[in-house]
């Protein structure tokens, strides 16, 4: 390795070590995935990046079966998802490494999941037909 790279590597390792909490979260990742039960579910594709103002972003996910339009509200460390679905009666579960929440889409197509934490999140969507859909993980 180039001596300058070695010097940089030593400097970063000393000055900016990986926090223990980050290692702990990494070690816990397989458990998070197993607990979410999302493996094998069909993907809801995310359309573009968040849109909106700081602390409040809007996201859209879609497949041929369902569309979700979600407003992410962040107040300090608490996050809520307020959204619309094209399929009333759908159950939407927000999976997180710690915590999470569930909501059922009402007759007008709206749903609200609050009390979530900042951090990685994945939505698992069960349609009234029983079909299981999921979003990819993203950070709220």
């Amino acid at each position: 390795m180039d001596p300058l790279l070695t010097e940089l590597k030593d400097l970063f390792s000393a000055v900016d070590p990986v926090p223990a909490a980050v290692t702990a979260a990494a070690l816990n990742a397989p458990m998070v995935v197993r607990r979410s039960g999302v493996l094998g579910a069909k993907f809801l594709r995310r359309d573009g990046a968040a849109r909106g103002v700081r602390g409040c972003g809007r996201l859209r996910f879609r497949t041929a079966d369902c569309e979700l339009d979600i407003m992410v509200d962040r107040v300090r460390d608490s996050v809520s998802l307020r959204g619309m679905s094209t399929v009333p009666g759908t159950t939407i579960r927000a999976c997180q490494p710690v915590g999470g929440g569930t909501a059922v889409v009402d007759e007008s197509g709206q749903f609200l999941i609050d009390g979530l934490r900042k951090g990685p999140l994945c939505l698992v969507v069960q349609l009234p037909t029983g079909s299981l859909l999921r979003t990819d993980w993203w950070v709220v």
Partner: protein, 183 residues
């Protein structure tokens, strides 16, 4: 440099639920992910979340990685894209993927406890390099086994440009240090 067979073995064992194998993968690559995510305008909490998200994504895809030698490049790519996306989301600016390239790290003040002038200059001049230079040097520091093809993929560069980019970035850093009369 890690042997691809060793990486493949760890991936296979981790996919079967072997916690020790997963811990090996974390030990090998956590420094790389941390370093890559650190290169963006994110607070410490968000850097931590980018790392966690990247590990979750790997955990979901353990059984799908066919080329273990490319794991470092794959992880760096995921961490980099998520860090950029999160930086954009935090500012909630509408963007297209093509615009993500324009997000560059801002110079970072050296930590107060960094007393050595040499180390302070090294820190300052590294963070004054372009986002691309920082990324390639971080990859070289923490995953020297990554091929130029993987590095190119993770940076959106043609494979033939990686070597010259690396050389140019190292020369730029050395020149800046020389100007600061610390070499």
């Amino acid at each position: 440099m890690k042997d691809p067979k060793l990486i493949q073995c760890a991936l296979q064992r981790a996919a079967q639920g072997d916690e020790k194998a997963w811990a090996e993968l974390v030990a090998w690559y956590e420094r790389l992910l941390w370093s890559v995510a650190r290169g963006y305008r994110l607070c410490q909490d968000d850097v931590e979340e980018v790392c966690q998200l990247t590990w979750i994504r790997l955990s979901e895809r353990l059984g799908q990685i066919r080329e273990p030698a490319k794991l470092a490049g794959w992880l760096a790519t995921v961490a980099r894209r998520e860090a950029m996306r999160l930086a954009m989301d935090r500012n909630a600016v509408p963007v297209e993927d093509t615009q993500l390239e324009s997000l560059v790290a801002e110079p970072v003040e050296p930590p107060e406890f960094l007393h050595s002038d040499r180390n302070r200059q090294l820190w300052l001049h590294f963070h004054a390099l372009s986002e691309r230079c920082q990324h390639v040097l971080r990859l070289l520091m923490y995953s020297p086994e990554a091929s130029y093809a993987d590095m190119g993929r993770s940076m959106g560069l043609p494979v033939g440009s990686v070597g010259p980019t690396k050389t140019r970035c190292l020369r730029t850093l050395a020149r800046k240090l020389t100007k600061a009369e610390v070499i």
